[in-house]
């Protein structure tokens, strides 16, 4: 018995060895891509991976959803610490600084140069590129799914209430809200406590700083200053409107978030991402007229470009060289005009390159009724060349600032707390976090 077990083991080993020694066909290089989208968007990413695998025979990408952005960042960190990181990972806008300081990545430009791809970096919209570039303009990661906040309104309701203008300024929004209310609409404008649309985008388009040092681009010693800018007055205006029940809080905790509130025609105006354009179009009953506009500004202010939201793709350090060839091929593949158009069509994210946008415009994409208005997101993002305050946000642990902002808004709108003192508290808490972040990376230089 013993000998037979032994001999079969030996035979097995020999077989395995012979397979290893003489492969029947060239082995594909496999590499991993982790992302933070789920549901419908997650499946579109899977489609993209499939398209890449079918387009060539040298590489095989394995794409894994980690749930949401924050979880993906977390899992990437854990994997990196265990030296099991994926070749490519998707990191959301505000995680940019965490990656930049990590020294755990291969800069975008270096990767493409090393692998012989010529990329026209100036082809990216500056408003998008700057968010992911060093302060001197060198890009570290690849803009992937990009969006910006837009203003949605129900045209039918506007007509019924006798409103004959577009809501371009906040004065007009107030007037429209009053007319809608008078016409019997319970919720003229719905809003939630999302820092991105309410605070960050407002600050950018009004050219107000969120933090000193050019929102952190020039150093880790930046301070949050949203308690000293036009944002304070803006929030006081919101509070007044909320007290008059013209603006209505719509959160998950209350039972309905803003987008469902808009698509169920409970609320007639809202600010949310352009990425919701597809959902809104699909969910609103057929025949209901609605439109998107750039976010309103206060009368007499000069409009600036809005901030890009979404995520970019980072190539992680410490993988075998062959995987980088694959990663470069994949990143090159998804940047082709055909893939750009496909991705924007199926998701609602905006194209990130000028040629991609031009190609889509030329093909008549934006003339189709269901995609109409999406080009205004590009207009909003590239309204002016980025200024010191509209390049982006480069602050450590910014997710926590967003959470604290949401809490401050909760206190103001749900519990009647004072606007100024809540914002002061927010700045104080956030600055304590920023100082700790600065100390954690003591001696680290941006860029």
């Amino acid at each position: 018995m013993k000998t037979s077990v032994l001999s079969s083991t030996v035979a097995g080993l020999m077989m395995a060895a012979s397979f290893g020694a003489a492969p029947a066909f060239a082995e594909k290089t496999k590499f991993e891509f982790w992302y933070g989208l789920s549901g419908d968007l997650g499946e579109r990413v899977q489609d993209m991976c499939k398209k890449f695998n079918e387009s060539q025979s040298d590489f095989e990408i394995a794409c894994t959803s980690q749930g949401d952005y924050a979880t993906n960042l977390q899992n990437t960190i854990a994997a990196y610490r265990a030296k099991k990181q994926p070749a490519i990972t998707q990191i959301y806008d505000v995680g940019t600084l965490d990656l930049m300081l990590s020294k755990a990545y291969v800069p975008a430009r270096k990767l493409m140069e090393d692998n012989g791809y010529k990329i026209d970096w100036a082809n990216y919209f500056p408003g998008i590129a700057n968010y992911y570039a060093t302060s001197t303009g060198e890009m570290n990661s690849f803009p992937f799914n990009s969006s910006t906040a837009m203003f949605y309104y129900n045209v039918d309701a506007f007509q019924k209430a006798g409103i004959d203008f577009k809501p371009d300024t906040w004065e007009q929004v107030e007037e429209a809200a009053r007319k809608l209310k008078a016409a019997g609409y319970e919720c003229p404008l719905g809003f939630n406590f999302d820092s991105w649309a309410i605070m960050e985008q407002f600050s950018a388009i009004h050219n107000q700083p969120i933090a000193t040092k050019g929102n952190g681009y020039e150093g880790l010693d930046a301070d949050i200053v949203v308690n000293k800018t036009k944002f304070v007055d803006h929030l006081k205006f919101f509070k007044r409107m909320a007290d008059e029940k013209l603006f209505v809080v719509k959160t998950k905790q209350l039972g309905m978030d803003v987008v469902p509130a808009f698509t169920s025609q409970t609320c007639q105006m809202m600010s949310t991402s352009i990425a919701d354009h597809g959902t809104v179009g699909k969910t609103l009953p057929e025949g209901v007229k609605w439109d998107v506009a750039m976010l309103p500004v206060w009368k007499g202010t000069e409009r600036h470009n809005s901030l890009v939201g979404g995520a970019s793709l980072w190539v992680m350090d410490g993988r075998p060289a062959a995987e980088y060839k694959g990663a470069a091929a994949f990143l090159n593949f998804i940047a082709t005009p055909e893939m750009t158009e496909w991705w924007s069509t199926v998701t609602g994210y905006i194209p990130v390159t000028k040629t991609g946008f031009e190609a889509m415009k030329a093909s008549g994409f934006y003339d189709k009724p269901m995609y109409k208005g999406r080009e205004r997101a590009i207009e909003s993002l590239s309204f002016t060349p980025p200024s010191e305050n509209t390049r982006g946000i480069r602050l450590g642990g910014f997710t926590q600032v967003r959470k604290d902002t949401a809490t401050a808004l909760e206190a103001i709108f749900m519990q009647n707390a004072d606007v100024q003192s809540e914002l002061d508290k927010l700045a104080e808490r956030s600055n304590a976090n920023l100082r700790r972040f600065e100390k954690t990376y003591e001696g680290a230089k941006l860029n």
Binding site: Y80, R81, V249, G397, Q400, Q415, N433
Partner: protein
């Protein structure tokens, strides 16, 4: 002279214990040591040189009023959650133990919620008890703000405690029901013949005899309330710590600090303080409550 059976060999028992010890070492001591190291340094998320900062992380945590708020919230949550859970479990167990028609079915139904994951329960209750939809909406229409966990901190805290109790009452029910089975029937029958009703019998006979089980559940449920995965899951899915920190239990604060703020060191310091607090609570329970428990 006692007869004692003793393993002569030193290595055999160690060999038997080894797999368990290995698991304990790998999944408990090793992480605990890592947490200890992080708590005294400023750990960069992706690794690298962490600077030793002594007790700075602890000072930062302990001087933060929001941290003390989360300790208070946790204590209220654990105490109220534990007492409600045990009380409901006890009432249900006493009722099911009476062997009335349908007892078997109810026994099954009462255990059921325990099989549902905390976050899933939270998700369901978010709709059931939402102030603008669901059953509370009609009450709110009559009396504005009668129930609004998105507005009032107290409502939000009651909200998460309800979900916790709903889920864990099934767990306490199993133990108390099993405990009641071992209460000698002769005692309750004798009392019944002397004319005492079901409530009298429960208070005078059954509950005192259940003391060891009740004590066990007290310790387990308090720990569960403080650090259980459900505590985090429920809060995360419903109130997300709000409104304005009203339901920010300690575990939620730790996860938030570590995984949202990427402040591993601060979170590590909080974890160590939490472990200390649980030890204190368990000590108090054994020192003062267990004295009143008679096992025989």
């Amino acid at each position: 002279m006692d007869k004692r059976s003793v393993f002569k060999s030193v290595w055999l028992p160690i060999l038997f214990a080894a797999p368990q010890m290995l698991l304990v070492f790998l999944f408990f001591y090793w992480p605990a040591v890592a947490v200890l190291r992080w708590a005294f340094t400023l750990e960069p998320p992706f690794g690298g040189n962490a600077e030793f900062v002594g007790f700075a992380n602890f000072v930062e945590v302990l001087t933060n009023p929001l941290y003390w708020n989360s300790v208070m919230v946790s204590v209220i949550f654990a105490l109220a959650g534990t007492l409600t859970t045990i009380f409901i479990g006890l009432v249900l167990a006493l009722a099911a133990d009476r062997q009335l028609p349908g007892s078997g079915l109810f026994r099954f139904l009462y255990i059921l919620p325990y099989a549902i994951a905390g976050p899933a329960a939270g998700m369901a209750f978010r709709f059931i008890l939402s102030p603008e939809r669901g059953i509370a909406a009609s009450l709110n229409a009559m009396w504005p703000d009668f129930w609004n966990p998105a507005k009032y901190g107290s409502h939000a805290l009651i909200f998460v405690i309800i979900i916790f109790a709903w889920k864990w009452a099934g767990y306490t029910f199993i133990f108390l029901f099993a405990g009641l089975q071992s209460v000698p029937k002769a005692l309750t029958e004798a009392a019944a013949m002397d004319g005492s009703g079901p409530i009298r019998r429960a208070i005078d006979i059954q509950v005192p005899l259940l003391a060891p089980t009740l004590f066990f559940l007290l310790v387990i449920m308090m720990t569960e309330g403080f650090v259980g995965a459900d505590t985090f899951g429920i809060v995360h899915r419903t109130t997300n710590g709000g409104p304005n920190h009203a339901t920010e239990v300690m575990v939620f604060g730790i996860v938030n600090e570590a995984f949202q703020g990427l402040n591993y060191s601060g979170a590590a310091a909080q974890s160590i303080i939490l472990i200390g607090l649980i030890m204190v609570f368990t000590f108090i329970q054994f020192r003062f409550v267990e004295r009143r428990v008679h096992y025989k």
